[in-house]
């Protein structure tokens, strides 16, 4: 995306809620469309990038784009209602207006995958930033090897998009591995830590790219497991979460060592962040 059609440092652009989907008791999806038709038509994003969503009178919050990059009519965001802004966004109905600016940051290195396997590791709501990757890969199936989707949740009821996981699991060359630390009746997947599933993952460590998203502790364990399987460090990526208020590398909140996560990330190569991830409190 070049600078001319970037909707960035502000002010935001008005957008309308097209649909609101309740994914779980606390997780919902907002499908938005920019009010300015030309801006909507020009809007492009790369999987892994995020937008700043503005709730009138309350403030902005960074949310990764989860819709399909080929979808031109809407911009999708899956959000957990936790803070002031996200709880407020949760109350929106179709027709309501929000502000939107973006997309920001560096997305997933999909060009680097070549014909290799794609391993997606997510925890909690971590799945949202990689759902667009799944869509991307499925649309261009011939350009990728096997697709492995590994998802861990704390409680079985935290898992959203169950039907989608079932659907993906039935596709050729696609493996879905799901774990919940605490199961529930009729839970069809693994009960335990998500890292226990790595030995089952069916990919070629010599020709694969792994992308992780979720709690940092989970990603550290997942990285250990993937590297132990023989995946080179240079083929391991993760998406970081930090406080972001400006999204253009200016306000300073998202700094992680020398990086501004909003601008230099949120997607990083494992090697770039590994040294600091070992220290709590950065």
């Amino acid at each position: 995306m070049n600078a001319s059609n970037r909707l960035d440092a502000g002010p935001p652009h008005a957008a309308t809620v097209l649909a609101r989907i309740q994914e779980s008791p606390t997780i919902f999806t907002l499908q938005l469309r920019l009010d300015d038709a030309a801006a909507q038509a020009a809007y492009r994003f790369a999987p892994g990038q995020f937008n700043m969503l503005y709730l009138y009178g309350v403030g902005e919050v960074p949310i990764s784009v989860m819709s399909d990059p080929e979808e031109r009519d809407l911009i999708g965001h899956t959000i957990r209602a936790l803070g002031r802004v996200t709880r407020g966004l949760a109350a929106l109905k179709p027709g309501d207006r929000v502000g939107l600016r973006g997309p920001f940051g560096r997305g997933w290195p999909l060009q680097e995958v070549g014909g290799c396997d794609v391993v997606l590791v997510t925890g909690g709501l971590g799945c949202a930033p990689v759902v667009s990757v799944i869509h991307y890969v499925l649309r261009r199936r011939e350009r990728f090897g096997k697709l492995v989707i590994i998802q861990g949740v704390k409680h079985a009821e935290d898992l959203i998009w169950r039907e989608q996981y079932d659907r993906w699991a039935k596709l050729p060359d696609t493996q879905v591995l799901v774990a919940a630390s605490e199961g529930a009746p009729l839970w069809p997947w693994h009960v335990g830590r998500v890292t226990e599933l790595f030995s089952l993952a069916n990919f070629d460590p010599g020709c694969a790219v792994a992308m992780m998203c979720g709690p940092e502790g989970m990603m550290r364990s997942a990285a250990d497991a993937l590297l132990a399987r023989g995946l080179p460090e240079s083929r391991l990526y993760l998406s970081m979460e930090r406080n972001m208020q400006c999204a253009v590398g200016r306000c300073g909140h998202c700094q992680f060592g020398g990086a501004f996560v909003c601008r230099d990330g949120p997607v990083f190569n494992w090697g770039e962040v590994k040294p600091l991830l070992a220290h709590k409190g950065f």
Binding site: A9, P11, V98, G252, Q255, K280, G281
Partner: protein, 372 residues
């Protein structure tokens, strides 16, 4: 005609100092200069030009700042005040944009631009200029110019004055940023007993000098100014162990000293507010009471505050140890990754204005002890 070389410097007699300010005012500048307010030197509008305070020194030690009298009755013997140029370029609080909402709920966004004010500041220090260059690098980054900062920066006229009387907290000589201004000014002055050696650093500065019709500074005067700078540098007692502390500090992230300093640190954030290079800010909305509009503002923020590391459900830096470590390692280590040099210009404000007198140079010495 004076050139910008110091050997082509002019000499501004003491009695002509007001005419320099008058000259700037004629050119449409609001003139800011040292003013005594609440026991400290702050930069406020000088009106009339004769109002520049004289004969004041600032005695500064960790956690302590006192104005005293200068036996030499100089204009600029007060080393530094609680703020550098920062508040005049990066405003502590300002509106970035505004949104209006009508009855149908539709939103209209509009950028808010600050009023254009041409400001001239007299009494800027070499460390302040070095800090401004770093703020420029951040706020005026190629392709991402901050409109609010840029507008103020573009209309700034800076009159630097050599620091002849450093405070005990100063260590600009060790960071290579002072005490004699070398770049980044429109005019630079060195105060001698009977007047100022004056050089221009920009075309605008040169034009002002030209209109003042000054005599050339003599080689004795120029040498006296040079000597004065050398003595001021030699008089500094504090220092950092080097200008490239990145690797040394980043290899000591679990050093016990972090816990020790955290026990003394109030996490009040004063060091970050007075630091001339700190740039963190928060953004927040203030909705109008009639429900029809909202202002989106930015305000100075600090990595010592709770909100800085706040994430959904937890805080990345919950304790003071993590916050102090974030501040110090950003300033002296990871700043190199971002801007190609350390973020510390040796002004010593974080030492003097820390209410409990935590001394950055002492902490760094303890953290890097025994390391090259």
């Amino acid at each position: 005609m004076l050139s910008s070389q110091s050997d082509r410097a002019g000499f501004l007699p003491l009695a002509q100092l007001p005419s320099l300010l008058a000259q700037l005012r004629e050119r449409g500048y609001q003139c800011l200069g040292p003013t005594v307010e609440q026991g400290a030197i702050v930069m406020r509008e000088i009106e009339p030009p004769e109002d520049l305070p004289r004969g004041i020194q600032a005695e500064q030690t960790p956690g302590r700042y006192r104005l005293t009298s200068d036996p030499l009755n100089r204009y600029f013997a007060w080393s530094s005040g609680p703020q550098a140029i920062k508040p005049h370029t990066f405003a502590p609080k300002e509106s970035l944009w505004r949104v209006e909402r009508d009855e149908t709920g539709s939103l209209q966004f509009a950028a808010v631009h600050p009023p254009v004010v041409r400001q001239a500041i007299i009494g800027v220090r070499a460390c302040d200029l070095a800090a401004l260059a770093l703020q420029d690098a951040h706020f005026l980054r190629e392709g991402r110019r901050d409109a609010h900062y840029a507008q103020r920066r573009d209309h700034l006229f800076l009159i630097a004055v050599q620091c002849a009387q450093p405070a005990s907290t100063c260590f600009c000589a060790s960071t290579g940023d002072g005490p004699t201004p070398t770049a980044g000014y429109d005019l630079a002055l060195a105060e001698l007993a009977d007047g100022f050696v004056a050089v221009a650093g920009s075309d605008q500065g040169q034009a002002v000098l030209d209109d003042l019709n000054l005599a050339w500074a003599t080689s004795q005067q120029i040498e006296a100014a040079r000597q004065q700078g050398a003595s001021a540098a030699a008089a500094q007692t504090r220092s950092l162990p080097g200008r490239h502390l990145r690797d040394s500090l980043m290899s000591r992230l679990e050093h016990p000293r972090w816990d020790e300093v955290a026990a003394r640190c109030l996490a009040c954030g004063n060091c970050t507010a007075v630091c001339p290079t700190c740039f963190c800010h928060a953004e927040a909305d203030t909705p109008a009471l009639d429900g029809a509009a909202s202002e989106h503002e930015r305000i100075w923020d600090s990595c010592f505050g709770e909100a800085h590391g706040h994430l959904h459900g937890f805080n990345v830096r919950a304790d003071i140890r993590g916050r102090y470590r974030q501040w110090l390692t950003h300033k002296l280590a990871t700043w190199h990754d971002q801007f190609g040099r350390s973020g510390c210009v040796g002004c010593g404000r974080c030492i003097a204005w820390c209410p409990v007198g935590i001394d950055l140079t002492e902490e760094v010495a303890a953290l890097t002890e025994g390391q090259p």
